[in-house]
Amino acid sequence: MAEVNEIEKVEEKEYSILNLGPTHPATHGIFQNVLKMDGEIVVEAESTIGYIHRAFEKIAERRPFYQITVLTDRLNYCSSPINNMGWHMTVEKLIGAQIPKRAEYMRVIIMELSRIADHIICNTVIAVDTGAMTGFLYLFQWREAIYEIFEEICGARLTTNIGRIGGIERDFSQKAWDKINKFRKEFPAGLKEFTKLVERNRIFMDRTIKCGPITAEKALNYGFTGPNLRAAGVDYDVRVMNPYSSYQDFDFSIPLGTNGDTYDRFMVRQQEMWESLKIIDQAIAKMPEGNFHADLPEWYLPPKEEVFNNMEALIYHFKIVMGESDVPKGEVYHAVEGGNGELGFYLISDGGRAPYRLHFRRPCFIYYQAYPEMIKGNFLSDAILTMSSMNVIAGELDA
């Protein structure tokens, strides 16, 4: 019997096992995939995640609400302002705060800028993975311009901690407006240049069309959201379906793909950048007068001069910093359209100073599990391209 088994073994096809990651330059982050390869074709894949797990959900159970903003920065760090705003809005929903229109419009400008920054990173990196370095270098200066705007507004660039519960920390300065207007004026030319380099480039198209496709049905079953789902042809966008922060005031369309492949995902993001610009334009044009924060003394820090000169302001200052503001009991879920999908915050408050339970619905944690299925039967080089086109961010994946 033993001999027969050995003969069978010889006749069996031999596969090679390839460890792609955890630190591989082509994966742009700490992603490990154990691939079973038949020559250059991926037969099976298994993803291992958790390399930068920092237990944010646990840490959040011990922090006052305003200190959780910095945790959300580190989820999808390519568009941290969206995460920050999502968190602020979750708390505002819990405490029932009304935010002035001006603050909401300012938030929209910030969020759309960071959506552009997020898409710039993802799309240029797709181009890099197909070998087109130039577009990456050209377009990245506009991401720098966006980060300079953030720096002007909040003082930070990557992990922004932008905005506060109840509004924005300060009104946009004249310099910030100048930078926004300059970006608004000059960015379209840069984006057009990138478009010309890549979008209808034969080599790029041959390389990305039919690479890592997913059907709409499967995408929904796998919990896809954001540009990846829209590339498969489902017009789901949180900004339209459950408008938050006055998105209902703006006129914009949702770009859709048809095949759900790498090229469609790329194109959806390209189009979304134009739509974001449209939203920013409208927000600037319609910017209402008024205050940039709500009248929420229990949550919104008073100006420093008042803290030193006014008893009440001092008390509130201490209450906020020590995290002793009163919170109602209850549970809320609030979702925003993040750079790569529906970013949700599920918050249970028991009236204590910290959340009883805080759960982040991290879009890329949920859709990354489809990755092994998407690359099955494709070339290894397509697997790399599929991963970069899915916009998987390690910080959000592992939370």
Partner: protein, 168 residues
């Protein structure tokens, strides 16, 4: 309008499952239903496949731990979304910590796979029938489930970070 949604769905569920629906209430913009653990698979299947309900999208899922609710210490929260009609609902189940077994949703939603692994990792909830129930974010050698409330965030033996004045 939101209460209308709550009533519609709770009538539907009660007609179909009777006692398995323990409670139905509105929490902010979500109708919330507490379901008996044994029936959760059937309820989710019904909600997904019924022609009127069509909750075809599992938005998220997370574990819960209430150490003081004796006999109902652990829980799981599910959120489902009917995209065409934009209905969102939340389902909850609770069960004793000594018997943390829940039927898996992986046959209905592929996306439940990692979500359930994450809650197994965090809370030690056993999803029976799950194809690959192992830890996902923490290391395999870990011998406890860190999100349970009995585990303090920081090492309890440290004295330099004593903060009895603030925090739980």
């Amino acid at each position: 309008m939101e209460n209308k949604l709550l009533n519609t769905i709770s009538e539907k569920l009660k007609a179909k499952f009777g006692d398995a629906v323990i409670s139905a209430e509105q929490s902010y913009d979500f109708p919330v239903f507490e379901i008996k653990r044994e029936k959760i698979f059937d309820v989710v299947k019904f909600l997904k496949e019924d022609s009127e309900m069509e909750f075809g999208f599992l938005t998220t899922m997370c574990g819960l731990h209430y150490p003081d609710n004796k006999g109902k210490e652990l829980g799981v929260m599910y959120q489902m979304h009917n995209m065409p009609k934009n209905w969102r609902i939340r389902l909850k189940i609770f069960f004793p910590i000594n018997d943390p077994e829940v039927p898996t949703l992986t046959p209905l939603f592929s996306t439940a796979n990692w979500m359930e692994r994450q809650e197994y990792d965090f809370y030690g909830i056993i999803f029976t029938g799950h194809p690959n129930l192992k830890r996902i974010l923490n290391m395999d050698e870990m011998n406890y489930h860190p999100m349970r409330k009995e585990y303090a965030l920081e090492d309890g033996s440290r004295e330099d970070k004593d903060d009895t004045m603030f925090g739980r």
